[in-house]
Symmetry: C2
């Protein structure tokens, strides 16, 4: 399934350029490692490459000159493979250990939290609509491939999760207790808030427990660091 | 101590532009919050601003048109204050709880680790020469002001610290034990390694204990997240 394209005014190339920084279900990924992961998870739809090889069998492969890859890339030094990938489907049945991102906006933080959730065997990461998009290229890069290996969704509200019987653990500096003094739960959602504003008031009101990490000199931790400490604690 | 400059070919402005992304002792900081912190710590040497006010008494203040601030800024939307700051002096006597960054290269990671070290009351962060520079604008931004409140140095080797009686705790995925099974120490250095390569072999050889964080699905944590979990544990 190979095809050769040498003009950047080709309609397919123009459509691909539109996928750069898009917010849709299909998105571009860069670098062979990420393409391998998407391929293994049956999520790779197309390969655009300067290499005339058969690395990705059964996937439509477009051979292009380097300048076209450069047009598609978000990086300064373009890698020889760019892919079009889909997001993993979220099954209607979510697992018992979830992380909920309530307006986490820095793409690096969102990606790092997804990576940590996978490392600590969480069952999924739910993102509020005002969190950074899963198809943002910096989110994808920061997940280091975890994106393809853990269920992700931006279609579930915290209220719905509470109705499904999840214990809601919210992080907040105010009216909270030291997380080390809280029990662990079998079925829970750990809620991490926006970098500046924290968790939204309506979500704090859903909390079964509101926790904080004790600090010394300043009450300030990066949300991915705080999230990592709490995910590590509650994973059981 | 006010001065008005309206030309970007002015020699002072040209010298300031050279400070952008410099690797020297003096560096540019942006935004009133950071300038306030530098001022409080007696590290602010000069203010360049579009505001004709007396916010920073006793500090040389240069009033400029907005286009000159834009030439000095690393941000797309420039803030009305840019400052020239020095790094805090490191006293020859370091405290008992230190973090050592062995080739940590992502500026966001370096800044986040410095911020976490301050929050968890560490006494200082030491950076190897091949770590991201303390005067990199992204490092400064990620510290969220912690830069001015915790001793930092890139002039001390891990070998010297060992000779000074610090217990050396190195993080590594190989030949390591679960950090939860290690004792805590009164005087120690927690060593965090490069994002891809980990801690250098010669530094692993200096270790008194080599630790890892147990993971489930993938052996992969962001270094600032891993550092946060371990700093939180060992702070005692």
């Amino acid at each position: 399934m190979k095809k050769y394209i040498t003009s950047s005014s080709n309609k397919l190339i123009k459509d691909l350029i539109k996928l750069k920084n898009n917010k849709e279900e299909r998105f571009l990924i860069e670098g062979k490692d990420l393409l391998d992961l998407a391929y293994l998870n049956n999520l790779l739809e197309m390969v655009i490459t300067t290499e005339d090889d058969d690395e990705f069998n059964n996937v439509e492969t477009i051979i292009v000159p380097k300048f076209i890859l450069e047009k598609l890339s978000n990086n300064k030094s373009v890698q020889p493979y760019i892919g079009v990938s889909r997001l993993p489907k979220v099954s209607s049945k979510l697992g018992d250990k979830l992380v909920y991102l309530d307006g986490v906006q820095d793409p690096g933080n969102v990606g790092t939290i997804i990576r940590t959730a996978l490392a600590f065997s969480y069952d999924g990461v739910i993102l509020s609509k005002d969190s950074a998009s899963l198809t943002n290229s910096k989110v994808i890069q920061s997940t280091k491939g975890a994106l393809f290996s853990i269920p992700l969704s931006n279609q579930v509200s915290l209220k719905e999760l509470k109705e499904q019987g999840y214990m809601i653990i919210v992080t907040s500096l105010e009216d909270s207790i030291n997380y080390l003094k809280t029990p662990k739960f079998d079925k829970f959602v750990l809620v991490l808030g926006n970098e500046g504003q924290g968790v939204k008031k309506e979500n704090i009101e859903l909390a079964d427990t509101v926790v904080r990490i004790e600090m010394g000199n300043i009450d300030s931790l990066n949300v991915a660091v705080a999230g990592g400490i709490l995910m590590n604690h509650y994973r059981g």
